[in-house]
């Protein structure tokens, strides 16, 4: 599933006509523009969910921060903040752009533990909890996770080519893999 590959920079060269759109913490982006590359930089415990429909080439990304919204209201500024509500928001957005749920596939990355334990007690292992919550949310939507790069102890940056569904992940160790 994972393979060492060309640098991200070479794949984003001017001749590629790629337009990078950054998906910040808690944001959701959906596009049907085949030239768009959705990207998220410096993920620690956060998890990026990439979903695409290979037939219509509609794709989207959400940048999840926390596992569950619980009974909190979800701010319109950060609709992707929680794994449960953020994933649902992304799927509804994709459907709104013409993607069909039965064809959707997901790739996820992130959920690292960058500290060796220094963190507020209620957030212990939050990266792993985010991954589990995203997987559960995708299962509820009936969307298969076809590739993932999660856990570990280092930050990641993620690029998602919505046209092909290709995802590239580069870690803080400068290792690049393709999902």
């Amino acid at each position: 599933m994972l393979a060492e590959c060309a640098t991200v920079e070479s794949m984003l060269s001017p001749s590629s006509h790629a337009a990078v759109v950054v998906v910040g913490l808690g944001e959701v982006q959906v596009t049907r523009d085949p030239e768009v590359v959705l990207a998220s930089f410096g993920l620690g415990s956060c998890v990026v969910v990439c979903i695409f429909d290979p037939l219509t080439h509609v794709g989207g990304m959400t940048h999840v921060v926390l596992p569950s919204s619980g009974n909190r209201s979800v701010s319109s500024t950060y609709p992707g903040k929680y794994a449960d509500s953020g994933t649902a928001h992304l799927v509804r957005g994709l459907e709104g752009q013409g993607a069909v749920r039965s064809r959707m596939m997901a790739k996820i990355a992130g959920g690292a533990a960058v500290t060796r334990g220094t963190m507020p007690e209620n957030l212990f292992n939050v990266g792993n909890k985010n991954v589990v919550a995203v997987q559960a949310a995708l299962e509820r939507e009936g969307i298969p996770v076809v590739a993932y790069d999660t856990g570990g102890h280092h930050g990641r940056s993620v690029w998602f080519w919505v046209k092909s569904g290709k995802v590239m992940v580069r870690t803080a160790k400068n290792v690049t893999i393709q999902l």
Binding site: G42, L43, T77, K81, T115, T118, R156, S157
Partner: protein, 232 residues
């Protein structure tokens, strides 16, 4: 959970409120009033003076505070404070608990952190090239001194108890390190309050950024202790 109150710019001016890095739609309980801002600024200055004195003693160099600001930034922009989300940095991170909680983060470019390690260990400049166990211990000790110096100054001023955690020393992307603190704050707020201090030596060998990110409750508690704002 309080509701979000949207207030226009004119309202803020009329009521004498200050928005350090203000945005529309901030939460009412995250809005600092002028007097409260002064109290917090004075406290932060005391803490930072103490922390930088601790740093100066440890590296045996004069440390100058280059800038000091209290800012309110959207959570998604927090990593810009330390060079941008992908920037590789060395962070010395600790939390604090007690009468109030929050996060302390000392951030250096890797080569600067290595120079500081040389100073701490008494090595010739340029000796340290990687972050192994010994080097991490040296920076953790620095984090201990700076964190406890900062917290002691604030705790003594307000007769509070604030306890630092053991520090974690992390070489990673700035965004990944900031996630640790930001993840807690965004449970309660879309914005992050941060006290940002940049400091350094004349020869720039020990430049760095010292961030204190209080939890939402920290500011409320600080203000209650200072007597500026009554308990709700």
């Amino acid at each position: 959970m309080s509701t979000t109150n949207r207030v226009g710019h004119n309202d803020l001016e009329e009521h004498g409120r200050i928005r350090p890095e203000g945005r529309e739609g901030m939460r009412e309980d995250m809005t600092l009033y002028r007097d409260e801002m002064r109290v917090w600024s004075n406290l932060a200055l005391k803490g930072i003076d103490n922390a930088m004195a601790g740093l100066a003693t440890m590296v045996n160099q004069q440390i100058k505070i280059k800038s000091l600001s209290l800012r309110q930034v959207p959570a998604r922009e927090a990593s810009l404070l330390v060079g941008g989300p992908e920037k590789l940095v060395i962070g010395i991170y600790l939390t604090f608990t007690g009468d109030a909680t929050g996060h302390i983060l000392l951030v250096h470019q890797p080569e600067v952190a290595f120079a500081i390690i040389d100073m701490l260990l008494g090595n010739p400049p340029g000796s340290t090239q990687s972050l192994e166990e010994m080097e991490q211990s040296a920076l953790a000790e620095l984090g201990n001194v700076i964190g406890s110096s900062y917290l002691n100054a604030i705790a003594d001023s307000l007769n509070m108890s604030l306890r630092p955690s053991p520090p974690d020393v992390i070489l990673d992307m700035a965004g990944a390190i900031m996630d640790v603190a930001v993840v807690e704050i965004v449970q309660e707020s879309d914005d992050v309050f941060v006290s940002e201090t940049t400091f350094g030596t004349d020869d720039r060998q020990a430049n760095g950024t010292f961030l204190v990110i209080p939890s939402v409750s920290f500011l409320r508690i600080i203000l209650e202790h200072s007597g500026v704002r009554q308990t709700c």
